[in-house]
Every structure is written in structure tokens, then in C-alpha cells.
Symmetry: C2
Subunit: 352 residues, 2 copies
DNA sequence: GGGGCGATTGATATCGTTACCAATCGGCGG
DNA sequence: CCGCCGATTGGTAACGATATCAATCGCCCC
């Protein structure tokens, strides 16, 4: 005989089924099924025999087969996020999973990478896997939401997180982008600044659009004109944000304050200012008033004085999941899409 | 008639099945099945009729039912992570998903929250859902790995990420914790420091243990004694790390340098030092030499001079997924668990 | 002591899909 | 003009699990 190690049983070419357990335990498949779903009316002695046989074989119920039965639910929730590597969405995912776990649901996750086509494929795949609901951060480039409307029409509940879609009436959890951006900008203007820069994402991104609107509204209310040369939208990562900030700094007449509309842009801006200081071998950074949307782990340790508009990503995830599960658990479908706006609080700048 | 909006079809109490499509198209279920899996030998005209019927009904293949057929694979990979809210693991998850997507696999994800019991339940659930493989960041408290051994014995490939398990011979991707910690500590000692603090996680966490070992090794090689009062292990979050650093600073004879063994502890340490500076209303932070394991987004913008031992979380995820998929795609099971150690590079401190 | 009730167990059919085999048809070579 | 072949289509039986109904058994009460 060869030296192939094979101490216990065969290497399980095929995972054991309920039928295998039944044969080993000398009972019918139905009895095994009963043992694994509540032990209704099975003699303790038989239960013991079945469990022992199952343990010997390493049997596990096939959840996919179970979910085939009528009325059974898959216990899965599909989540598509634009980019999980962004700590904000990671935190949101955590919130989603907390609530999902409380309701015994698992999550299937996919990154859309801001690509509508990819998002659409993810959604289709998730639906094919019988998810009970979808939580979607709609990709910025999503010109149409056909794939989501199809799902909704098919009876699969959807919750949108962070971004709304005008043409899709489903539960949505947003941050008060406009209010937060307004408050931040208003604060800057109240301090006397009149040339305020804006760094944000492209207008096709819902949150970017709204935060720019808050920025504009605040100017309008105070009757201060915006120099459009100071409005740079289109940075989606830290690197491009840093470059954009550098461009602002190098203007002949640079802004005295800048509102950055998300954490990528805030970090890029800080980086540009701090690296500028190091290049100048100066002890003090440029005096630029900086307020950023989104809090992040290092916000209060920034080397550059900074205020942030803070909001709670985990809570956003929790609320989206909660609303979704209400739908899954039978909320009257006639109830129109509910929209929650979570507060965005302007945090005071820490003593420098 | 009432005003209930119900323009198209019924609200799909039950999602349409292949059989429904077949009836509408006036063909047999088999023909529909063929149309959706390669169109082998179905007349174009019939194909068109079937596709049209499917579109009308909003039909989607039930992937769970398909995966019931013998030989079919689920296309799912189960991933358990200790805490996705840690940006390091979020980045890792991204790497895993990139590779999984390249191989047309989706991921089922769950947070174990460093709880072995929870991890075990997640794994059991994933196996029940017929995942083709598992990627696990073993929870620190996992005294035993029975649940994983069962899975492995059942023929489901496993890859461990970030942390190894002594008693489980499976593919594993690690960071060169010992080498990285050694290099960092050696650098500190070479600079002349003799009282070096250590902040890290509890010894039950694999990486924490290894990084402490590198720290000790470096001292041993240089024949420098470690003051055990300066070794604080057990901080798992930023808050407790900050408190631990404060404790070090308040010692009668505080360390002149500190090695922080992960990003939570590094950030906590920076926070303690910076907040101390602010309390003292001083322009300069305490002169403490700081080197931390793990890079993070803000590492080079730290208000406190800092070096880091950098490694690539996304690559770690990619490698784990790649090895797992090799197993799934039929790598000889006789091949013993492969262990990869990714490099951890000591990055120079940026000019302050 | 008989009828009946509850507890226990098993046989059957089905969930949605597809591999396999059989049936049908048109057309072409001999 | 017959028979064979390929193309096309359908019937059947499973995949693993369970709801439903039927069957069996022991035991209690009148």
C-alpha cells in the first residue's frame, strides 16, 4: 500500500447528504431532516443516533437545497459598494452587517468601482442567488437605474445608501449633505473669508452635487460671489485632490479658505498644504482655513488646522439595513420609499 | 376599479420560473434551459421567442437551484475578517474581491469580531451555503481551530490571511512580522535608545506575538535588556492604545522611543503625544522616537515624527485569494499548506 | 377490553434546473 | 425511393431537502 495519508473515511469526493446520514443511522431521510430542524417528535435515542452519524460523516445541511423549497428564504442580502477600500464605506459595511446579523442574514458583497455596468452585473448576480434584498451605493456614473427598477418590480426590496436616485422610489438613507456643506461654508464666510475654494467629486456623484449646492447656497444667502476658478470638482482619489489643492495654492490670487467635500479631497488638501510647508522648511503651514466634509480617523490630529463636518457611517449602514429588513419582513409594499437624512454636524476646530 | 398602481403584470408574489417562461413561449422547459446556457441547437426564431417571454416575465435563473445539480459549483467564497472597520482589513477585502471577481466568484463576508465562537458559526454557515473555499483571518481568541479543520477535512480549501494557526496546515499569507518588527526595533536601538516601549495587541493574537518577538530579538542581538514595564500588550483599539501610551509617558522614567505593533496602537500613541502637546500648549511635541508597524493613510502627515513598517494589505488579500483559487481549481490536495510571507519594509521618516 | 388519541416514523411529491436519452423531422447519398 | 444522419425538441429523472399525509405503535380511559 502507498503512503498516502488517509486516516479517516474517504477524502469526501462528494459532501455527505442527508440521505447518507439516514442510511448510516438506519432511519429514513425524513427523520434526519426532523432532527436538524427542531427535533419535533423524534425519540431522544434516535436523535442521538442521527447526530452521531452526522458527526461521523461531517454532514452539513445544504442551505441552497433548503432554500429551494417554497416559502423558504435565502437569508442573504446583497450589498454593492462603490469602493470598500474607502474607510467610510468599510465602516458602513460594518453597520450593515451588524443589523443583518441580528436578523440572521448574511451579506454578499461586491465593489462596483463607480462603474454602472459592473454594478448592474453584480445586482443581476445577486438576484440570481436569491438575495432577499439589496443595499446599494449607486455608482456615480449610473445614468440609468434600470437594473434596480427591474429588481424592485420583481419584488426584491432595495435600500439606497449615501446616494439617492431621482428616478427610483425606494428607501434611502442619506447624509444631510446640503445642510452640512451649507453650515461649513457659512461658518467660513462668517469668519470673513470671501474667496473660498471648493474641492469635490464630479457632479455626477450625488453627494458631490449636493455638497456643492450647499456651498453655493451659503454664498447666495450672504450675497457673496463665487469665483468659479476656485471650484474644482472631479477628484475621486487623494492623489488628484492633492494636485487640485496645489493648483489652488499656485493661483495668483489663491483662496483664503477651502471647503473640501469629502474625505478624499480633505486628505489631499491637507497633504498639499503640509508638503508645501515642508518644502518651504517652515515651522508653520500656510494660513488656509480648511473645513472638510466627512470625519476620519485622523481628523483631530491633522497637522493643518481643520474643522470637519462629521456624520456616522456605521449608523448610515445600520439604518439602511434596518429599513431593508422592515421591507423583507413584510412592510406594506404600498408604503412609498422612505428617505432618511442623517445629520452632519460641524465640529469645532480643536485648539491648535 | 381601485387606484392601486399595478400597471404591468402581477406584483410577482413568486418570482417567475423557467417553467413559466416555457409556458409563455410555448416550448418545453428544456428548450428554455438551453437558450440560457449556450443556445446549443435551438432555432434562432425559438430563441427569440424564449428571450422575449423571459423579458416579459422578468425571469432570472435561480442560481441556487442550478448549483444543486451534481458537479456544479456555487461560485461563492466565504470570507471571515476580524473587523472590517479596520482600514487594513478593508483594503485586504478589496484585494480578495479583485481576484475573486477575475475568477467569476462572489464573496460572502462576515465579521468575527475576534470572537472564536462567532467565527465558528460564520464558517459553519458559509459551508452550509456551499462556498467553494474559505479565506479566514483567524480570530485572536481562537484557542482551537476545530471548525476549520472540519472544513478542510470535508474538502473545502481554506486560506488563512494575516495570521497562521500552528495546528492547521493550510495555505497562509503572512506579513514578515518578525523581520519587520526586528528592523524597526533595531533601527531604534542603533540610534542609541536603550529604553524602548512596546505597544501591541494581546499575545493571543498571532501578529501581536510575532511582532513582540521581533522586538525582543532585536534587543537580544544587541544585548540590551528590556524593561518589562515598558511592554504593554493588550490594546485592540485606538482608545486603549492612547491610554497605554499615556501610562508610558507618565512613568517616572519614561521610554525615549516606542515601537507600536499595529496601526491601532500607532494612532493611539500619536494621539497621546499630540494631545499632551496641546495640553502643554507647546509648539513641539514630546521628543519620543516613534516607529509603528502597518502603514496607514496619514502616516506621512503625522503631527508627531513617525516611521512606519509598511506592507501591502491589498496584495495580501490578492495572494490569499490566488492560492485559494488554485486549490479550488484542482491543485493536488497532497500539496502541503503553502506559506507566503510578504515583506514589511521600514520606511524612512519624512523630513519633519 | 375496545376505541381512540398522541407520539413517532416513513413514503411521496415537489422546489427550479439540467444531464441524458428518446423522438421527430428534413434532407441527402446511393 | 429507402435509409441514415444531423438538427431540433421534449420527456424523465435526478440534485438535497422538507411539507404533507399516511401508517404504525403504545397507552389510557370508560
Amino acid at each position: 500500500m502507498s503512503a498516502t495519508p488517509d486516516p479517516v473515511a474517504s477524502p469526501a469526493a462528494r459532501p455527505p447528504t442527508l440521505r447518507d446520514v439516514a442510511i448510516l443511522a438506519g432511519v429514513s431521510p425524513m427523520t434526519v431532516s426532523r432532527v436538524f430542524s427542531g427535533n419535533l417528535n423524534v425519540r431522544p435515542e434516535v436523535q442521538e443516533r442521527v447526530r452521531s452519524a452526522a458527526a461521523t460523516l461531517g454532514y452539513r445541511r445544504n442551505e441552497n437545497a433548503r432554500s429551494l423549497r417554497p416559502g423558504h428564504r435565502s437569508g442573504l442580502i446583497g450589498v454593492t459598494i462603490t469602493n470598500i477600500a474607502n474607510p467610510y464605506y468599510a465602516e458602513m459595511q460594518r453597520g450593515i452587517e451588524e443589523v443583518a446579523a441580528e436578523h440572521s442574514r448574511r451579506i454578499l458583497i461586491g465593489n462596483s468601482n463607480e462603474d454602472a455596468e459592473l454594478e448592474s452585473r453584480l445586482v443581476a448576480d445577486f438576484l440570481g442567488r436569491q438575495v432577499e434584498g439589496l443595499i446599494v451605493v449607486p455608482s456615480g456614473s449610473a445614468a440609468d437605474s434600470t437594473h434596480l427598477r427591474d429588481a424592485a418590480q420583481g419584488g426584491v426590496p432595495i435600500a439606497l445608501a449615501s446616494r439617492a436616485l431621482d428616478d427610483l422610489d425606494v428607501d434611502t438613507v442619506l447624509v444631510d449633505d446640503i445642510g452640512g456643506a451649507f453650515a461649513a461654508t457659512d461658518r467660513i464666510l462668517a469668519e470673513g473669508h470671501t474667496r473660498v475654494g471648493f474641492l469635490g467629486t464630479q457632479a455626477s456623484v450625488f453627494t458631490g452635487r449636493r455638497r456643492l449646492q450647499g456651498f453655493r447656497d451659503a454664498h447666495a444667502v450672504r450675497g457673496i460671489a463665487i469665483d468659479e476658478d476656485l471650484v474644482l470638482a472631479g477628484q475621486r482619489d487623494v492623489q488628484s485632490a492633492e494636485a487640485a489643492m496645489q493648483a489652488l495654492l499656485q493661483l495668483a490670487d489663491p483662496p483664503t479658505a477651502v471647503f473640501t467635500a469629502n474625505n478624499r479631497n480633505t486628505i489631499g488638501a491637507i497633504r498639499a498644504i503640509e508638503l508645501d510647508r515642508r518644502r518651504r522648511r517652515s515651522a508653520a503651514p500656510l494660513r488656509i482655513r480648511l473645513i472638510g466634509f466627512d470625519s476620519f480617523e485622523f481628523a483631530d490630529l491633522s497637522p493643518v488646522p481643520l474643522s470637519v463636518v462629521a456624520h456616522d457611517a456605521r449608523e448610515l449602514g445600520r439604518r439602511a439595513a434596518t429599513m431593508l429588513l422592515e421591507r423583507i419582513d413584510g412592510l406594506d409594499p404600498a408604503v412609498a420609499g422612505r428617505v432618511i437624512e442623517l445629520p452632519a454636524r460641524l465640529q469645532e476646530v480643536p485648539a491648535p
